[in-house]
């Protein structure tokens, strides 16, 4: 009896200690200099906005590593971090060691330029003015489209509950607003009045504003609302993985969101410059663009997008004078200044 109690007491002490030791070994092993190579590999540090994570990690990075290895024999590492575009921008402002950043809005690049992190318009010197890929804004609806939504204008119909990311915090939401405004504007007889009416109509039906495009998506997937305005890429990627359980509706007119690359020279050590430049150039290569396509993005080269649904009247932010004007006139001027006031939100 006594001996058994002692045994159990021992077990009660030994087991946790063993467990802790095992955990410690598990945690420490990768940091031990056991199989340390002669020299650590060179690295590229890339910060990107969230939806790029998979296409880069699993698509573009391995392609580049292979190509670089066959070309030079050197193995390089790509270190990445993904968060909302605004977050990435702020992180860079705070000094994270990003060498390359991929932002969902040129607006964020402008912010970096304003803070002196990168020279103004430095990204314009890259191919396609620094745009690495794009994706149009589409409408996601419930399977079988029970509310028969065909276009942005249908989102304004009474009774449609729209889930929308919040333009104050989400880059995607800014794109969506310009998409909605542009669709109204470009409608025959639209013009500024049409744009305003479209925004007003859609936003009258917005029932939830999520902090990010991603969060809006999650809300919608959890069964909230009837329609979601979001990137085509997200839906395509889900379809590719077989997890899409809603239908994609292509509006007649919509915007292509264009994703801008900036290179933060001050974070790049001189000896890595060639490597970083090679990677930057690689992003517009066929192999990289094909990888993006695989993950649902549209290539900057329209010829590669033939397998994807045709957008009848696609437009870009330059049609509205670039982001600095669009932000001021459409997002702040029309949406914030008039639509929200009108709706009393």
């Amino acid at each position: 009896m006594f001996r058994r109690r002692v045994f159990f007491q021992r077990i009660g002490v030994v087991l946790p200690v063993l467990a802790a030791a095992a955990l410690l070994v598990y945690a420490v092993v990768p940091w031990l200099p056991l199989s340390r190579k002669a020299r650590p590999p060179r690295t590229i540090v890339l910060y990107g906005f969230s939806i790029l994570a998979d296409s880069l990690n699993h698509g573009v990075f391995p392609e580049f590593q292979n190509e670089w290895r066959t070309k030079t024999g050197e193995t390089v590492e790509l270190v990445s971090s993904f968060a909302g575009s605004g977050t990435v921008t702020n992180q860079i402002l705070m000094g994270v060691p990003a060498e390359i950043a991929l932002l969902s809005l040129e607006l964020d690049a402008l912010k970096l330029a304003a803070a002196g992190v990168v020279p103004k318009d430095s990204w314009k010197t890259f191919p396609h003015a620094g745009v690495v890929n794009r994706t149009p804004f589409v409408i996601l609806v419930r399977r079988g489209n029970p509310l028969h939504i065909r276009d942005f204008s249908d989102l304004a119909s009474p009774g449609v509950r729209v889930v929308h990311p919040d333009p104050l915090t989400s880059g995607g939401a800014n794109w969506a607003i310009v998409a909605e405004y542009g669709a109204g504007f470009r409608r025959p007889g639209g013009g500024p009045r049409g744009g305003y009416d479209m925004l007003l109509g859609v936003w009258r039906n917005v029932v939830a504003q999520a902090a990010s495009a991603r969060a809006a998506r999650t809300q919608f997937e959890n069964g909230f609302g009837d329609a979601l305005v979001t990137y085509e890429q997200e839906a395509l990627f889900d379809r590719y993985r077989g997890t899409l359980n809603s239908d994609i509706v292509y509006p007649r007119s919509t915007i292509y969101s264009e994703h801008t690359l900036v290179r933060i020279d001050r974070n790049i050590p001189g000896r890595d410059r060639d490597l970083v430049d090679a990677f930057v150039q690689f992003l517009w290569s066929d192999r990289a663009q094909a990888a993006f396509s695989k993950y649902g993005f549209r290539s900057v080269d329209e010829g590669r997008n033939s397998r994807l649904a045709r957008i009848e009247d696609g437009f870009t932010i330059s049609d509205f004078g670039g982001w600095s004007r669009a932000k001021k006139e459409i997002v702040d001027g029309v949406w914030k200044g008039r639509v929200l006031k009108e709706l009393g939100k």
């Binding site: 467990a19 994570a53 993904f82």
Partner: protein
């Protein structure tokens, strides 16, 4: 000890406890238990192989190991620092003692995001001190060291909170008894004081460990959130969530939750045992 209690009273106690206990369980169910259960349900919804794949992903492995490493380091370093702080605050009387007592407990009251921000504003590349040391090639932020700093800051009060009450309770004569018998200061600390503090040390270290494992707010600010470099498990979960890999996020969340359960299970058993021994 409880065996000495007459069966009659015990049974009655059980019966009267039924109503309040069931109310409590009803409250706790949606508040705590069900959300935790949901994590496991979702983590395993794709089947065990999918769960295993998710856990085996290199980024996930890195995040878990990194989190554990930081948690071990944090618990170890703060065990020493916290015990020292507790000793000083408990055994010495000095001007500003109260203020110092408040300062060391401050991290409890400060939002962790603020902790992260303040660390960045001090050590970061554009921070007050960071501006001076960055040109020297020293920059703790966005590196494992920065994560460790943040975790040390955030978890500092736990050790203090569990060790200081024990020290307060020990009269100075406890040490003095050892001195007069012939034990030096260090021997006294090792053989007399430390064993008396063991309960507090274990509890404090486990609390520190658990908190460090789950730390998010400060870490997200100072780590730079670099995959395979500075991404802790909670950051990984959040990043996966943001990128849409909810299954992946759930799998790691389930692992973290299981680890925390384990820690608290030991903690609970340990405190129960030491209480019985006392």
């Amino acid at each position: 000890m409880s065996a000495a209690l007459p069966v009659e009273t015990r049974r009655r106690r059980e019966r009267t406890a039924f109503a309040p206990v069931s109310i409590l369980v009803l409250i706790l169910l949606p508040l705590l238990l069900m959300p935790l259960g949901a994590v496991f349900v979702f983590a395993l919804r794709g089947g065990l192989p999918a769960f295993w794949r998710a856990v085996r992903a290199p980024e996930a492995q890195f995040a878990l190991r990194f989190s554990l490493l930081i948690a071990f380091l944090t618990a170890g370093i703060n065990a020493v620092l916290g015990t020292f702080a507790a000793y000083v605050l408990s055994k010495y009387r000095f001007r500003g003692e109260r203020t110092l007592g408040i300062v060391v407990n401050l991290p409890v009251a400060i939002p962790t995001v603020v902790v992260g921000t303040s660390l960045l504003l001090l050590w970061g590349p554009i921070g007050l001190l960071g501006k001076l040391i960055t040109p020297l090639g020293i920059q703790p932020m966005f590196r494992p060291a920065g994560v460790l700093l943040a975790h040390l800051f955030v978890t500092f009060p736990y050790m203090l909170g569990t060790v200081k009450p024990l020290l307060d309770e020990l009269e100075t004569t406890y040490e003095e008894a050892a001195y007069t018998i012939g034990a030096g200061r260090w021997t006294t600390f090792r053989l007399v004081l430390l064993p008396a503090l063991r309960g507090g040390l274990v509890t404090g270290a486990l609390l520190t460990f658990a908190h460090s494992l789950g730390e998010f707010g400060a870490t997200v600010m100072v780590s730079g959130n670099l995959r395979l470099r500075t991404q802790t498990a909670p950051l990984y979960i959040f990043a996966q969530f943001e990128a849409g890999d909810i299954a992946q996020a759930n799998a790691i969340a389930a692992v973290l939750a299981a680890l925390s359960f384990l820690i608290f299970f030991f903690l609970f058993r340990y405190t129960a045992r030491t209480k019985k021994a006392a």
